[in-house]
């Protein structure tokens, strides 16, 4: 289950890295903003409204951030990008703490979905089932968007050769910003959708960010299906270890991450680009 949440967060992280070459330490903050916005909207207008408003709000926030601050960092070295997004993450986390307080909050699962569904072999909570189906739909939608639309073509071409796409008249800046907003929106949606399952507190951003890095690294930084595979693998790895050797259930994913980085830094499904500088 947690694996699916990782998939949703990691997907945004990986497409942003693929398009912008930006390692976004603020991605967890997007998840947290989505969770809080979703929470507030859902309390007044129901969960469905929260699920619509949260990703849009986070995407808007991301666009503003991109246009005002991050675009100055596209050409800086990756270290500076990590630092500035890390700074943004702190500012967001602390702002959330000031606005919503430091306590843990959660939103109850809507009554209509709080039953269980009989899947034949097991009983599964209905909300979690909807969540899982939703993630699958979204993954496919994003994939179709990137693979089957003209816009997606510009995005994919820009990853290969930015200058050439610009020369051919493709609007690379617009594509970059859109991808950044899309990635952020996905994180925001995941945050809003997961708040009935996992409670939210201001630290939520970082506590989901770090495992998401594990997922993206294992799958391959910038790889679309890598993020999906990585998310599911990490979720499974944690579940299995919890059964076999509970004390190691947290440490095992970092061991996996280190092994992947050392043996195959481009990840399981990443293209074996030259990893330097």
């Amino acid at each position: 289950m947690r694996g699916l949440v990782y998939v949703a967060i990691a997907l945004g992280l990986t497409i942003v890295f693929g398009m912008l070459r930006l390692v976004n330490f603020a991605h967890g903050a997007f998840y947290a903003i989505g969770a809080y916005v979703g929470l507030v909207v859902a309390e007044h207008y129901g969960l469905a409204a929260g699920l619509i408003v949260a990703p849009l709000a986070v995407a808007l926030f991301a666009v503003v951030l991109d246009r005002t601050l991050l675009r100055f960092f596209y050409d800086r070295d990756p270290t500076a990008q990590i630092l500035v997004t890390f700074g943004i993450a702190i500012v967001v986390e602390e702002s959330l703490r000031l606005i919503f307080g430091g306590t843990t909050r959660s939103y109850p699962v809507p009554a209509a979905l709080s039953t269980s569904v009989n899947l034949g072999f097991t009983l599964y909570p209905a909300y979690r089932l909807c969540f899982a189906v939703g993630i699958v739909v979204i993954v496919l939608a994003v994939w179709v968007f990137l693979q089957r639309t003209n816009f997606g073509l510009i995005v994919r071409a820009s990853i290969r050769d930015r200058t050439m796409v610009q020369l051919l008249g493709g609007n690379v800046d617009l594509a970059s910003t859109t991808i950044f907003a899309l990635g952020a929106g996905l994180a925001g949606l995941a945050g809003a959708a997961a708040s009935p399952i996992y409670s939210v507190d201001p630290n939520t951003g970082f506590s989901f960010l770090v495992p998401s890095f594990v997922v993206v690294v294992i799958g391959g930084l910038g790889s679309f299906w890598g993020a999906v595979l990585g998310g599911l693998l990490v979720g499974e790895l944690q579940s299995v270890t919890t059964l076999v050797f509970p004390a190691a259930s947290d440490v095992v994913i970092y061991i996996a991450m280190a092994l992947v980085l050392l043996i195959r830094p481009s990840g399981l499904l990443g293209e074996s680009e030259v990893i330097r500088g």
Binding site: V23, F72, D77, V84
Partner: protein
């Protein structure tokens, strides 16, 4: 390296270390804070060798800091409870971390840029969860609390570092008895670390490290093995961060797994970047500024960490060289102006 230059460095540094705890008193600082700033600052100064001089952004310094503290405290409480020795605790803490940094360093220097940062992060998380889960040894999330730290043996003497200095009223700058012997010890170690770091970055080692940061391939072709230099930098930075952690553990007589979190690793990054990478005193200044905000401002407003984050972002955007880096840059710009004026028609 002129005699005058040496005298100036030692004179001003010693003067600064003596005045520091008193100068922060009127703005709400106190002796304990001054001591903590120096102890943590030692780790930042060491980390700067990695981030500033070698250009390697480690996101895992917390593992060296935390493990240094745990090993030092376990030495007196668990490993040698019958003959607790201050120096042994410090030495074992640093030695263990040095070994750890060597093994991890050999692995991480194979990677570059973000991959390097992410791998150090992964290792730090491993150590966090090992410390967190190994309850028999580390007491898990309770941490080691109220450890009896022995007095510091020095030849025939035995010095209890928690002894306050004699009372002496200094008006607006507080009272001398606000300081414990711990401050004097931390100041001596800080002085030694600064002198070591100053010599190191001026040595051939420092030059080569800078050359590798700027162009690794070229350095390799000239005949310097980049990995050996990077491992060395990683080990020295790790050892100094471990020293910082061991001192902190012995000073606090306690340590909790929080010391190994991503947040602690991030703090070393924040301190060093705000103060100024590639400057000798920058990391110390950054550590002082942010720890001051944490300790003094937090009593007044809940927004202190927001302010910290905003300062951090502002520094990255407007002062990429940090507080001290900006000063040096403007000095360099003036020098360039003066030179070009002379060379002009």
């Amino acid at each position: 390296m002129t005699v005058a230059g040496e005298l100036r460095f030692y004179g001003l540094t010693i003067l600064g270390l003596i005045l520091f705890p008193f100068l922060i008193h009127p703005i709400g600082g106190y002796g304990g804070l001054a001591t903590e700033v120096l102890i943590v600052g030692i780790g930042s100064v060491g980390f700067n060798l990695l981030l500033g001089y070698a250009g390697l952004l480690s996101y895992g310094q917390a593992m060296f800091y935390g493990v240094g503290a745990y090993v030092a405290l376990l030495t007196v409480s668990r490993f040698f409870p019958d003959h607790p020795n201050f120096w042994l605790a410090l030495a074992l803490g640093v030695a263990f971390v040095t070994l750890m940094a060597f093994v991890i360093g050999m692995l991480v220097v194979r990677l570059y840029g973000i991959y390097f940062s992410l791998l150090t992060l992964a290792f730090a998380q491993m150590f966090f969860f090992i410390v967190f889960k190994w309850r028999d040894l580390t007491q898990g999330d309770d941490g080691l609390q109220g450890i009896t730290v022995p007095a510091m043996g020095l030849g025939p003497w035995s010095i209890d570092l928690t002894t306050p200095f004699p009372a002496l009223n200094l008006g607006p700058f507080g009272d001398l008895s606000d300081l414990h012997y711990w401050y004097a010890f931390a100041a001596l170690v800080t002085l030694a670390v600064l002198a070591f770091m100053r010599a190191l970055v001026r040595s051939q080692f420092g030059e080569v490290l800078g050359a590798i940061r700027d162009n690794e391939e070229r350095s390799a072709l000239i005949g310097f093995d980049p990995r050996r230099y990077k491992v060395a930098a990683f080990v020295i930075a790790g050892a100094l961060t471990g020293l910082s952690g061991a001192l902190r553990g012995l000073y606090d007589t306690s340590i909790a797994p929080d010391a190994l979190t991503v947040e602690t690793s991030g703090n070393f990054v924040i301190y060093t970047v705000i103060g100024g990478v590639k400057t000798l005193f920058g990391p110390l200044v950054g550590t002082g500024l942010i720890m001051y905000l944490q300790n003094v401002l937090s009593a007044k407003t809940d927004a202190w960490r927001l302010i910290e984050g905003l300062i951090f972002v502002a520094v990255i955007v407007f002062l990429p060289g940090g507080i001290l880096g900006a000063r040096r840059k403007s000095a360099r710009a003036e020098l360039a102006k003066a030179v070009s004026a002379k060379a002009g028609p």
